[in-house]
């Protein structure tokens, strides 16, 4: 692990962090285009973030240091994940430090602090968001863990970089039925983890759909900017993870590889937008069926991997 590798990893993380609002803009533009609207433009998220970071902050009189610490912890977790997940150039020089289970654990850490943030100010909406977010995590995390387990079993490694390289070279679960099932499961889980329709609606603050937004309701100013950015980074991380594990084939040269990554991520972002437009938000308690579908797909993949061993 040379300083050059660290430099590439840092560049990769920086590109991912800076590109995250643009990818979210693409999803929104897709939805706008399908809904026959003009939409706010691809760069609107950047303008929103700049506006938020210039503002002052308001804290509730009932809030504690958790309201100040939670956005910082969430931001730190996303920055660390940006270093761990092989994204733009397909590199993961510190991949030995965290495997797929560590990624799930770090996402859970961010979620824990977000949930505490929702409860801290003592508002009913915050509590609702926290309660629903943690309940959904209990049904989606097993599905995600099973999918990750099947990928690890198929490739013999749970490190992301190595699994990705293995699939790229044709080994592991690459291009088998199990792979297809896992891709579907991962896509469903990416929708769930990023809080998109049918799990949650990221565009509104209505009580009916307020899971992620509910927890952020009392955040303001730069802290809200940090949290909004963190959720966009999380979305791009999940899309990069799908690219690394399911469509990793790309040229070796870094510039072309980055271009390949960008094309694949944009393709997935458009797919996300289309999926959001084609479905309606599901009732909260019906999401158990949604999670069961993802778990079932992962279990099918497991059976294929076991049978074809």
């Amino acid at each position: 692990m040379t300083p050059r590798d660290i430099g590439w990893a840092a560049a990769q993380a920086a590109i991912l962090i800076l590109a995250a609002p643009l990818v979210n803009g693409v999803v929104r533009a897709t939805k706008a285009s399908l809904q026959r609207r003009r939409g706010p433009g691809l760069l609107q998220h950047y303008r929103d973030l700049i506006k938020l970071f210039r503002k002052g902050a308001v804290f509730s009189a009932d809030a504690s240091w958790i309201s100040r610490a939670a956005p910082l912890v969430v931001g730190a977790v996303m920055a660390l994940l940006a270093l761990l997940v092989p994204s733009v150039f397909g590199l993961s020089p510190i991949g030995f430090a965290g495997d797929l289970f560590a990624v799930i654990g770090l996402l859970a850490l961010a979620r824990f602090f977000l949930a505490l943030l929702g409860l801290d100010a003592g508002s009913a909406f915050g509590g609702e968001g926290s309660s629903r977010e943690m309940a959904l995590a209990t049904i989606f995390e097993p599905a995600l863990a099973l999918a990750v387990v099947v990928i690890a079993l198929g490739g013999g490694t749970s490190q992301i970089g190595e699994a990705s390289a293995l699939i790229e070279s044709g080994g592991g679960v690459g291009l088998t039925a199990a792979h297809a099932f896992l891709f579907c499961a991962f896509f469903l889980l990416a929708i769930a983890e990023t809080g998109r329709v049918p799990v949650d609606n990221p565009d509104t603050h209505l009580e009916l759909t307020m899971i992620h937004e509910g927890m952020l309701l009392e955040a303001s100013g730069p802290y809200l900017g940090l949290l909004a950015w963190a959720s966009m980074i999380k979305q791009l991380l999940l899309l990069s993870l799908i690219v690394a594990l399911f469509i990793p084939w790309a040229p070796v040269e870094p510039g072309l590889r980055a271009l390949g990554w960008a094309v694949k991520v944009l393709f997935l972002a458009v797919a996300l937008g289309i999926a959001e437009t084609l479905t309606a938000k599901m009732r909260l308690f019906k999401l158990m069926d949604y999670a069961s579908m993802a778990t079932g797909l992962a279990a099918l993949a497991l059976l294929f991997v076991v049978a074809l061993r």
Binding site: G56, P71, G98, D99, A121, A124, F125, S131, T138, L217
Partner: protein, 660 residues
């Protein structure tokens, strides 16, 4: 080392005897006993971990108290590990109890409390170091009776007496099974020394008896019903000892007798243990989510963690039976590391709950809230405990959860297709329990410490005294240290797994250039993760600075918010109650009392009840059957002395005929 161990035992006896001598001076008795017990704990930890690190194995023979019995101890790697855990937690709990037990000095029974605590700790230390079945059973019984005295300490409360009774019955049922198994394993020569124990025929029955016996003490489903009753009733320092340490003595007993002495068995045994463990884990945490009593929630969480430990043990047994000794060593190390981690963070959580109870006189989370401002240090330590128990990096719970998952993954490469399907599904259930635990402890921490206080008791709480704060902060620092530097324990654990599975896990840790933990299919570097998280958090703290910071009221759609409008623990867990309603038989009722005109509700009451499956389907029918049989059998009680003499005569004649 041997003399230090003798000193440990002497300190234990001294801390048991001192309060009995000083029983007329309860304040002095409690203080002296706590101090002596703290020294006992520190010395036991030093002996235990010291012997483990140095690889010492020694025997100790003491002159018998009762002629004809032997007091033989052996401290090998397994005993040393558990002795270290017991000593460590006892030391911290004793420091805590210096502050916590002060109000108890003014109530009757203080000396009994101190003596029972000391007897409990001493008995646990003897249980894990005895090398003689009689000494083991005597110490086991003393442990159970001492903890019974602690559970019913507040014997004026009906619940405490009921809880103590259920606990006494269940622990003796378990002890009966253990006794039967140990007697069946008696070998030639001295029937009670560990060296000569061997399992001849009927190994399956012995295994089943050991699993049931130690499973009762560990709190595995469906034998767990005493745990959520007994642990909350005891004073907090005793609950911490019971949950954090007594469960581990059952784990020790199972490993010693079920794995080491009984020897390797068929794969089915490992799978049964794995299945029972996974079931306990899921059922335990689901019930924990439904609780609004903080200590009952923690007790159910202990059931969950005992399940996780037995998942590791079962995986180890199954892997060993297919010849994969390295993977078996990883699984066993994961189970033992989880035992240590659970002792540390469950001790922390129970002590924190005790501090909260001390300050607010309630354990009901529906009456708490806002304590983070009144008790900042306790809250910070409890936050670390909640993060650790939810298996979140960079704390210790994540490490043992990760190791267990990697051990389960390793089962895939073995030839058996059963393992290939069962182990990944067990891994999925582990992930489910981690998710449920996170939800449970967000609820526990949020309801107790965050937002506005719901009653005046919570509004006027004061931070706990220095000994209590020091104890919980020490445990919190230990959680962080064990989480960031797991390599500290992997070498010593290699010394334990070596003799038991034939493979060492010491090479799972690479120290250079960055400490990495390698096991199963992957590797992590908790030190690097922790360091990077700290660096990024610090950078963001410095970089993100709002220009103007104002304070305002929480947004309530224009209404003045009061404490009833924030989410309560029951409402927080309602989505989970609905999602898993098919398991609970949830019944929810809403009663609305309407005002004039029938429009505006004057009073709304929400009633939720769940059905405890083990009690409903197993214990209540068993109890009813037992009582009906007993009622019919009581027909022989005629009340006439002549009738009873006739019974004696008939029995004597039958016995004489049979013996002839």
């Amino acid at each position: 080392m041997k003399t230090t161990f003798e000193g440990v035992l002497a300190l234990g006896v001294l801390s048991l005897v001192a309060p009995l001598i000083l029983h007329r001076r309860p304040r002095a008795a409690l203080a002296l006993s706590s101090s002596l017990l703290a020294c006992f704990g520190a010395a036991a930890a030093a002996v235990g971990f010291g012997a483990l690190v140095r690889g010492d194995v020694f025997d100790l023979v003491l002159p018998p108290l009762v002629p004809g019995t032997t007091l033989t101890f052996r401290v090998d790697a397994l005993s040393a590990f558990f002795l270290g855990v017991i000593g460590l937690i006892t030391a911290v709990v004793s420091v805590f109890s210096v502050g916590y037990l002060r109000p108890y000095a003014d109530k009757p029974g203080a000396a009994r409390l101190a003596a029972a605590t000391a007897a409990f700790a001493l008995a646990m230390a003897v249980v894990v170091t005895a090398s003689n079945v009689l000494l083991f059973l005597a110490a086991w019984e003393l442990m159970s009776l001492a903890s019974y005295l602690l559970v019913v300490h507040d014997h004026h409360a009906r619940e405490a007496r009921d809880a103590g009774f259920v606990y006494l019955v269940m622990t003796h049922v378990g002890t009966a099974f253990i006794l039967a198994a140990l007697l069946a394993m008696a070998g030639p020569g001295d029937p009670f020394a560990y060296d000569t124990l061997r399992a001849g025929s009927s190994r399956a029955w012995i295994f089943a008896a050991l699993l049931i016996g130690f499973g009762t003490k560990a709190g595995l489903v469906p034998l767990h019903v005493w745990l959520p009753r007994a642990h909350p009733q005891a004073p907090a320092h005793a609950s911490a000892l019971m949950s954090a340490v007594m469960i581990k003595t059952a784990v020790y007993g199972f490993i010693r007798f079920g794995i080491e002495i009984l020897g390797p068995g068929p794969m089915a045994w490992g799978l049964i243990v794995l299945g029972v463990g996974a079931l306990s884990a899921v059922v335990g945490i689901l019930h924990a989510l439904m609780e609004h009593d903080l200590k009952r929630l923690l007790a159910f969480s202990t059931v969950e963690n005992a399940g996780i430990i037995f998942v590791g043990l079962g995986a180890s047994m199954a892997l060993a039976s297919t010849g994969r000794s390295e993977a078996a060593a990883v699984a066993l190390a994961a189970a033992l590391l989880h035992a240590l981690n659970h002792a540390v963070y469950k001790g922390l959580l129970f002590l924190g709950a005790g501090a909260v109870h001390h300050a607010t006189h309630t354990k009901n989370m529906e009456k708490l809230g806002g304590l983070i401002r009144r008790m900042p240090w306790t809250a910070a330590a409890m936050l670390v405990g909640c993060l650790s128990i939810s298996a979140l990096p960079p704390f210790n719970g994540f490490i043992s959860e990760w190791l267990t998952l990697q051990a389960l993954l390793s089962g895939f490469a073995s030839a058996s297709p059963a393992l290939g399907v069962i182990f990944p599904l067990a891994a999925m259930m582990m992930a489910m329990t981690a998710g449920l635990a996170a939800a449970c402890f967000v609820k526990a921490f949020g309801a107790t410490f965050l937002a506005r206080p719901r009653t005046s008791a919570a509004a006027e709480a004061a931070e706990a005294g220095r000994p209590m704060v020091a104890a919980v902060v020490a445990l919190a620092l230990m959680c962080l240290a064990l989480g960031v530097m797991p390599g500290l324990m992997m070498g010593p654990l290699g010394a334990v797994t070596g003799p038991l599975t034939g493979a060492s896990v010491a090479d799972a840790v690479a120290s250079a250039p960055i400490p990495t933990l390698r096991a199963g299919y992957g590797s992590i570097s908790p030190a690097l993760i922790g360091a990077l998280l700290a660096v990024f958090a610090l950078t963001l703290t410095l970089a993100v600075r709002p220009g103007r910071v104002r304070t305002g009221p929480t947004w309530g759609c224009g209404i003045d918010l009061d404490a009833r409008m924030q989410y309560s623990p029951t409402s927080f867990s309602q989505p989970v109650r609905r999602f898993f309603g098919f398991l609970f038989g949830t019944r929810e009722e809403v009663h609305v009392e309407k005002g004039p005109g029938g429009y505006f509700p004057r009073r709304v009451a929400y009633d939720a009840s769940i059905r405890y499956a083990a009690e409903h389907y197993l214990y209540k029918p068993a109890y009813r059957t037992l009582m009906s049989v007993a009622r019919r059998a009581s027909a022989i009680q005629g009340g006439s002395l002549h009738l009873y003499l006739l019974y004696v005569l008939i029995t004597a004649v039958v016995l004489l005929l049979w013996a002839a």
